[in-house]
Each structure stands twice: as structure tokens, then as C-alpha cells.
């Protein structure tokens, strides 16, 4: 399995490099001068030029890109155009908050969404089915930031149950996590429901029934393991969307996370900051997808033999040889 993980990690590198190149290009090759945006358009030309030299902006595009990448490979994510501080410092401060919201949201959505979808599928056409489906339908349409604002209005401003600003206590994170979880839950509910409905229709469920297996065991032993597979895939695919959503939600709740940082950086074309943030996010997503794939292999033995099959085949061969020797 180590080989598999290693191979996948290696495959991530060109993707991350590609991303860095694309973002770097988009920001560098389009009109808009970072220096002007940072210092202001009416600053004297001499001051502007000095700053440009300081930031190395007069070097040709490829040189700047390669310098940046070389830095990254040594752990140096560059220096922010805007603040002059090392990017890695600022990211380290802010990324935990963003990750708390993003992963908290994903986790909560799994906890709520999967059981709801399962119940919805098992008791099709019942009250809980209609409830779950309606809820899911509405939640996918509600803009997350609007939901956040409504919650902010009701719970913070009107009922004063939670603090309004700041990011110091866990109380600050309740609403952001919940808001993010809301639309993710909707997607998971629908996915789980449709996946489980597929499974119910399968022949092997009929076989199990013909053996006299009661409904409970059919659900827990036969259905869940099979039905959870597409759900796992969807969770993986959704991680990127979740992280994107976190950016907006941080804005609503004034949480000083990576979202605000990226937006400010992008406004002034702070290239090192922007590119570094995005590379980091892409890496996190890549690792999460890898974890999802490994999880997948553990749930579905067919995938397991696909990924790790060589080992099993060798094993079977050895046994066969041993047997033949004995004869």
C-alpha cells in the first residue's frame, strides 16, 4: 500500500505545479500593476519604480515564476507584496481557522446527511422521506452566505445567543460551521438516498431476503457498505467546493481566516500570497482525495484488489506452488 500512496503523492506534484503556473500567469500577464494597486495610482513614478525593483517585478515572467517555485521547494512561500512579511507566517496564523470551518462543516454534514439519506431511502414515501427531500431541495438552493446572514440576524443580533465578532472562542465557530454544513448536508442526503435506493434494488438483496435475513440485518450488513461508496466519492469531490464556500462564509461572520486574506491579496495582485494560498488549498484537497480513495479501497474489496492486487496474486501463486510441491 505504501507504493500506492507514494505514487499518488508523486502524481499530485505536477498538478500542483500546473495550478501554480496557471494562477501565476493569470495574475502576472493581465493588466494591472500590483505596485500601483498597493501604493495608490497617484504615487510618484519614482517611488513606484523603486518598489517594483524591490519586489523584483521587472524581471521577465518566467524568471519570476522559477524563482518563486524554487523558493517553494525550499519551504519559502515568498514574501507578500502588500505587507512585506513572509507569506508562510501569515498563512500559518490564518489557515487553522479556515480549516476548522471547512472540515467542521464537512464532518457535520456527514453526521447529519448520511443518516437522513439512509432513513429516506429505507422508508421511501414516508414522512421522513418527504421531509428529508424537501429540506435537501431547499438547502441546495439557499445561498450559503444568505443562510449565514439570516442565522447571524436571528441568533446573534436578535437572540444574542452567540458572540458577534472575533475568533477566539469556539462559540465564534458554531454558526460558520453550521452554515457550511447546511448545503453540504443537502447534497449528501440526496446522494446517500439515491445510492441506497440503487442498492435496495440489487439482486444480492433479494438473495439475502430469500435466505430469511430480517430487514435490520439487510440494512446494516448488506446495504450500508455497498451504498456508502458513491457517498464517499461525493464527499471527496465536494471538498473543493466546501473550501471555496468557506471563503465567503468567513466574510459573513468576520472570521479572520484565509478567505479574507486571499480576497485582499487578489485585489492588489499580491502574487506570492495568492499563489501560495491556492497551492496550499490544492494540496490539502489532493491529500483529502487520496484519503478518500484509500478509504474506498478498504470498503470495496474489488477496488482493493485493483489497487493492491499484485500482492494478493503473488500470494495465491505462492500457495499454488507450495501445493504443487507437496504433490
Amino acid at each position: 500500500m505504501g507504493k500506492f500512496v507514494g505514487k499518488r503523492l508523486l502524481m499530485m506534484i505536477p498538478v500542483v505545479l500546473g495550478i501554480s503556473f496557471i494562477v501565476f500567469s493569470i495574475l502576472s500577464l493581465t493588466p494591472g500593476d500590483p505596485v500601483q494597486l498597493i501604493l495608490g495610482a497617484d504615487t510618484e513614478e519614482a517611488v513606484l519604480e523603486a518598489k517594483r525593483v524591490e519586489l523584483g517585478l521587472n524581471d521577465p515572467f518566467l524568471v519570476r515564476y522559477l524563482k518563486y517555485i524554487m523558493g517553494v521547494l525550499h519551504g519559502d512561500l515568498g514574501t507578500s507584496y502588500r505587507t512585506g512579511l513572509p507569506v508562510i507566517q501569515e498563512i500559518a496564523l490564518r489557515i487553522p481557522k479556515t480549516m476548522v470551518i471547512a472540515f467542521g462543516g464537512i464532518g457535520l454534514s456527514v453526521v447529519f446527511g448520511v443518516p437522513l439519506g439512509l432513513a429516506s431511502a429505507i422508508k421511501q414515501y414516508s414522512f421522513i422521506d418527504y421531509f428529508a427531500r424537501t429540506l435537501a431541495l431547499l438547502l441546495t438552493a439557499i445561498p450559503a452566505f444568505w443562510l449565514g446572514m439570516m442565522l447571524l440576524l436571528k441568533i446573534v443580533l436578535q437572540m444574542k445567543l452567540l458572540p458577534a465578532t472575533g475568533a477566539n472562542s469556539w462559540k465564534n465557530f458554531v454558526l460558520p460551521v453550521f452554515t457550511l454544513a447546511a448545503s453540504a448536508t443537502a447534497t449528501l442526503t440526496r446522494t446517500t438516498r439515491s445510492s441506497m435506493l440503487e442498492v435496495i434494488r440489487q439482486d444480492y438483496i433479494l438473495t439475502a431476503r430469500s435466505k430469511g435475513v430480517p430487514e435490520n440485518r439487510i440494512i446494516w450488513k448488506h446495504m450500508i457498505k455497498n451504498g456508502i461508496l458513491p457517498v464517499v466519492t461525493i464527499v471527496g469531490m465536494n471538498i473543493g467546493v466546501q473550501i471555496g464556500g468557506t471563503v465567503v462564509i468567513e466574510n459573513v461572520f468576520a472570521i479572520p481566516g484565509m478567505g479574507a486574506m486571499i480576497i485582499n491579496a487578489v485585489r492588489v495582485k499580491d502574487i506570492p500570497m495568492t499563489v501560495s494560498c491556492i497551492i496550499l488549498v490544492a494540496t490539502v484537497i489532493g491529500i483529502m482525495n487520496l484519503i478518500v480513495d484509500i478509504l474506498y479501497a478498504f470498503i470495496d474489496p474489488r477496488i482493493k484488489s485493483q489497487y493492491f492486487g499484485d500482492k494478493q496474486r503473488k500470494h495465491a501463486y505462492k500457495r499454488k506452488e507450495e501445493r504443487e510441491e507437496e504433490e
Binding site: L206, S210, G212, V213, K221, H222, K225, N226, D300
Partner: protein, 349 residues
Amino acid sequence: MNENNIVEIRNLSVNYETDDGTLYAVNDINLDIRRGEVLGLVGETGAGKSTTARSIIQLLPDRVGHMTSGTITFEGETLAKAENKSRIGTFDIAAKREKEKNEARMRAYRGERISMIFQDPMSSLNPVLTISDQLAEVFLMHSEERLSKAEIDRKVDEALRLVNISAERKYEYPHQFSGGMKQRVCIAMALACKPELLLADEPTTALDVTIQAQVLQLMKNLQKELGTSVLLITHDLGVVAEMCNRVAVMYAGEIIELGDADDVFDENQPHHPYTVGLFGSVPDLNMSSRRLKPIDGLMPDPAIKLPGCPFADRCPKATDRCRNERPAAYKAGKLQLKCFLFENEGGEQ
């Protein structure tokens, strides 16, 4: 009830209620399965064979399949009676309880006294559970005392031995088995508790011809050894000839011919026009012919309940009476035939 019969089906009708309307899958059939026999149920796809089998084991599709009339008895005990209403109201507690009781009893029977194997072995086994797990499940469901792990293992090994699969392989997964092996596992699961009745729904249709022969031979041996009564559903006349004691021919939800296998295959016996067509359409390797001889036309639309004989449209001998009046089952020669042509020969059954 006749002592020789293990199953008696009387006036069975089954409907499927779908979004697009009602499908009349089985229309008023009478059938007995005798103790220890292999009864073949033959017919084209859509004739109602699977529905009949699934009615016996009470595994009609949830919410959709309904037994609208008739009774099914198993060893003298009434397994199923038609429901008066197709859906039980939410507050009809007595009816609900009755239904649950019946279901509980059926669950106890399934796998232990009545078993079923299905057509497609590729999808009949749960892909994420080991073979051992799935076999062990039958024992777990049907033993009165708690079995130790060692005992279960032993029973699993023995079940596998019965179908010529090495016990070494029991921790593997279905996708590592070939189609024939998977079907053998299904047979092992079905016969593990030595049931009195086995319902086999086209068990070899999805297999290669050579594997087919293997599996059929295995089933034949096991049937003889265990004395299980078998309802063998197939559309392959060759399989019927090989395996069955008696044969029932089904068409559009009705049993139109019934009798001993030898007699059904005997050209000299009088036959239902459909059966004639069926046998006539089997290509004969001895004769050289340039074209196949199918039966003209198609099976009637199951959504429409016809007043007369379902084969009337395609029958070369049909009369107006055939189209408007349903024939009963008449005895002719050694067979029972549902056709007016034989009305006067032996009288109604």
C-alpha cells in the same frame, strides 16, 4: 389437500401496480408441486414464471407486486391469501399485525424450508462480503442455539464441499469467483439447511453451455440426495428434458399445458398450439433448413386483460370463441391443456 403435494396453488393471480398502470402478470393459475419431484415451469420471458415462484416464497417486489386472488399452501399450511385491499391503511392495526406475523413466519421458512436461487449469479452475491460470511449467514439465521465460530466454519466448509468448491477459498470475495462457481455458491446457500422446496429461477441461463451442464448435473445429484422438491423455471427445453419429471407450460400468465415431461415431449400426444409452436421453433440439427420457424406475433401486452385465450391472436387454429371466452383446463391424452380444441375429450379439470 393431496398428501403427495408439497405446494398447492389455487386460482393465483398477481398484479404489478406501476406508475404507468397495472400489469397482469399471473392470471388465475392452478399448480401443484409434488413431493420430491422436479417440476419444470417453461415459457418465454414475461410469461409470469418468476412471478409465480416469487409468490410462493412471498418475495414479490415491495409495494408493487400484489397477490390479488387465490391461495398458496405449503405442506398443508396456508402460506398466502390474497389481500382484500391492495394497501393496508395506516390505522388498520389488526391487519398490520397479521401481515407482520405472516412475514415473520415466512422469514423463518426462507432459507430453511423454502429456498430460491436466481438467474444472474454475477449480481446475486453481495460484492463486499466474503463467501464465508454469506454462507454462514444462512446458518446464523436458522439455528436455534448459538453456534460457535468453529461450528459455523465447519458447516460452511461442508456446504462448499457439497458443491465441489475448495474450503480454502471461503474467505475470498465474489468477484474472485467465476460465474459457474458463484452459482454453485448460491446453490450451496440455498441447500445448506436442507430445505423441502427449492425454487430455481433460470439457474443456468446466464452460464456458458459447458458450465451449464456441470451445474445442472450438480443440482440433479443434490436433488436426488436430499429429496428436495424443485420448481425449475427455464425457457430452455433442453434443460427441461434433462432435469424434469413434470412440465408446466406458461404463456401470458396462464398455464396452458401440464403433464409428465415424457408426455409433453411426445409428438404423438395432443398439444396446445403454443407448445406445438414452441417445439417447432427449436432448430433441429438433423434437418437442413434455411430459416428458423418462430411463432408469428408477440406475447400480448400485460397491461391489458384479455377476455379470451391469451394465445388467440397468434394461434393458427383460433376461432371467435377463443378470443372472447377463456378456455378452462381440459384433459386430453395424458396432458392437461387450456384450449377449446380439447374441450370435449376428457372434460374439465
